[in-house]
């Protein structure tokens, strides 16, 4: 596991031998992630894998997972980018407190988030009662509830990523556009957004990934019903008790979907050529 000598590497990095202690700790760090994945692969029922994934419960869960995670990433973008801009570019009392609160779902146990959503939007809350009585809408135990739970946990990942990018922007471009007569909204749309595009994509992928793997807030707020609110992680949890091989098959499906997305977006998301000076937002693939 030494880092030197790979012929395809073109990075201009000093070719020193890394200290042994760092190699050992780094290898252990990799093992923490790799060993559980090997455990999953070692128990995989390869022969019956496709049949297990063709099961209606699994296909329903895949459909619900894709719909809700994409919807949550979209909502996080629509509301998160303006929020990130406000946090980065404006000064108002309580801004730092608001930023801390917005990032809270990143560290909060998801089940706490789900309980909080239930208390805020459940049928017995003022908002939930209003929605129920006026429109007949009950958010818990619905696919909308899954999307709300996913958005709650995913939003901070987008806000934090995009806010950092906006704060790092050279304000002179915005000033120049404003001097040339662009309205403040036009500056935001035509100057800020294009300049932060790589971070926007990265934040969107992070938010999607967080939503795709969401479990605790979803099961607490939206319940678990196959075909309606059961996402892939919930299906894994339920099947782990009932049919372990199917649970493993679903887990592998999630690993595959996650890897596919990370690979498809690797040029944008992962700064592979950070130290060679090539543009991060280069040609995809």
């Amino acid at each position: 596991m030494t880092a030197n000598g790979a012929p395809h590497r073109t990075r201009r990095r000093p070719a020193t031998r890394p200290p042994a202690s760092i190699v050992v700790l780094g290898a252990l760090g990799a093992a923490i992630v790799v060993i559980p994945l090997l455990g999953l692969l070692s128990r995989t029922p390869w022969g019956s894998l496709l049949d297990r994934l063709r099961d209606d419960t699994v296909l329903d869960a895949l459909r619900i997972s894709l719909i809700t995670s994409v919807a949550a990433a979209a909502l996080a973008t629509v509301f998160g980018v303006p929020l990130a801009w406000l946090l980065a570019r404006t000064r108002f009392p309580g801004r730092r407190l608001l930023r801390a609160i917005v990032t809270l779902p990143m560290v909060l146990p998801p089940v706490v988030g789900g309980a909080a959503l239930l208390f805020a939007l459940g049928r017995r809350s003022p908002i939930g009662r209003f929605l129920d009585e006026e429109f007949g809408i009950v958010l818990p135990f619905s696919i909308t509830g899954v999307i709300i739970a996913n958005t709650f946990v995913a939003l901070p990942f987008l806000v934090v990523t995009v806010e950092g990018a906006i704060a790092a922007l050279d304000g002179r471009h915005e000033s120049a556009a404003a001097t040339l007569g662009a309205s403040r909204l036009t500056v935001f749309r035509r100057v800020v957004i294009p300049m932060i595009r790589p971070s926007l994509v990265a934040g969107g992928v992070l938010a999607w990934a967080r939503a795709f793997g969401e479990f605790g807030a979803t099961i607490t707020f939206a319940g678990n019903l196959p075909g309606r609110t059961q996402t892939l992680p919930l299906a894994v949890f339920t099947e782990l008790d009932a049919d372990r091989d199917t649970a493993i098959a679903i887990s592998l499906l999630m690993v595959a979907v996650s890897i596919a997305v990370l690979v498809a977006l690797r040029e944008r998301w992962w700064p592979t050529d950070m130290d060679s000076g090539a543009p991060r937002d280069g040609v995809a693939q």
Partner: protein, 253 residues
């Protein structure tokens, strides 16, 4: 020692501390118990600790109770978790165990399924579980309370319109108690344990012949403390234990 060395030593020490938990002591009995048994078993454990009966022990007896859905516990045991006793909410979960048990399991308590609703709300019987205008819940079929619920629906000839299948009976009971669900099929003891809940009994067609909710307890073959485990099982059939079981709303087999 350089900084990396200090970091490595810290990691090693943390791991070592994590591995040497107090469970390794000679007198700690480890029980894996169904969610619905949680409160009862902790009271039984307290009584057992005060008077461990014939168990040969030098120092104080501890009882560690790992409470989760029976099927989750069964999975953990099958994957090598170490425990002395397994008390699931159905004999089926004992039969699905891959690891060995000692002798015949002891049936020590019974329960029954009821339809729970929030006090102040309308009572909802199992026959109303077809109503799509109500928010209704049961446990997932993979856990015993869900398997019992499925059997109850079948016996009552009902195709239920469920809104959620909860992973364990406590999360179902609390969603009914919070008013998020109009009703859910839970154990009678869950209703007794929560002052916000009331129960509608299942109809007589769903009797013990289709729905025998009995809690078995079995000693695992690789139990670290076999004498203590046997003593605890014996304690469960004493008059002291039986009065605690009844006080929690369970029945006797």
């Amino acid at each position: 020692m350089n900084r990396v060395g200090v970091a490595a030593a810290t990691v090693a020490l943390t791991l070592a501390m994590g591995c040497s938990s107090p469970d390794d002591s000679a007198s700690t009995l480890r029980v894996f118990a169904a969610t619905s048994l949680g409160d009862l078993l902790s009271d039984l454990a307290t009584a057992f600790q005060a008077d461990p009966g014939g168990a040969v022990v030098d120092d104080e007896v501890n009882v560690d109770i790992n409470v989760a859905g029976s099927s989750t516990l069964r999975l953990q045991l099958n994957e090598g978790a170490s425990a002395d006793l397994f008390a699931p909410a159905s004999t089926e979960q004992l039969q699905l165990l891959d690891v060995g048990t000692v002798g015949e399991p002891t049936r020590f308590a019974t329960n029954r399924l009821v339809s729970a609703h929030r006090i102040g709300g309308p009572p909802i019987g199992i026959e109303q579980f077809t109503d799509t205008n109500l928010l209704l819940g049961a446990c997932a079929p993979s856990v015993p309370c869900g398997a019992y619920a499925a059997a109850a629906f079948k016996a009552a000839g009902i195709e239920p319109a469920l809104d959620t299948e909860e992973p364990d009976v406590r999360s179902l009971a609390s969603k009914v108690a919070e008013g998020e669900l109009d009703a859910g099929l839970v154990y009678a003891t869950d209703v007794l344990a929560d002052s916000r809940l009331a129960a509608v009994e299942l109809p007589s067609s769903v009797d013990v012949s289709v729905l025998d909710v009995t809690y078995p307890v079995a000693q695992l073959t690789d139990a670290a403390h076999p004498e203590l485990a046997a003593a605890f099982i014996e304690f469960l059939t004493t008059a002291d234990a039986r009065s605690i079981i009844i006080a929690h709303g369970f029945g006797l087999p």
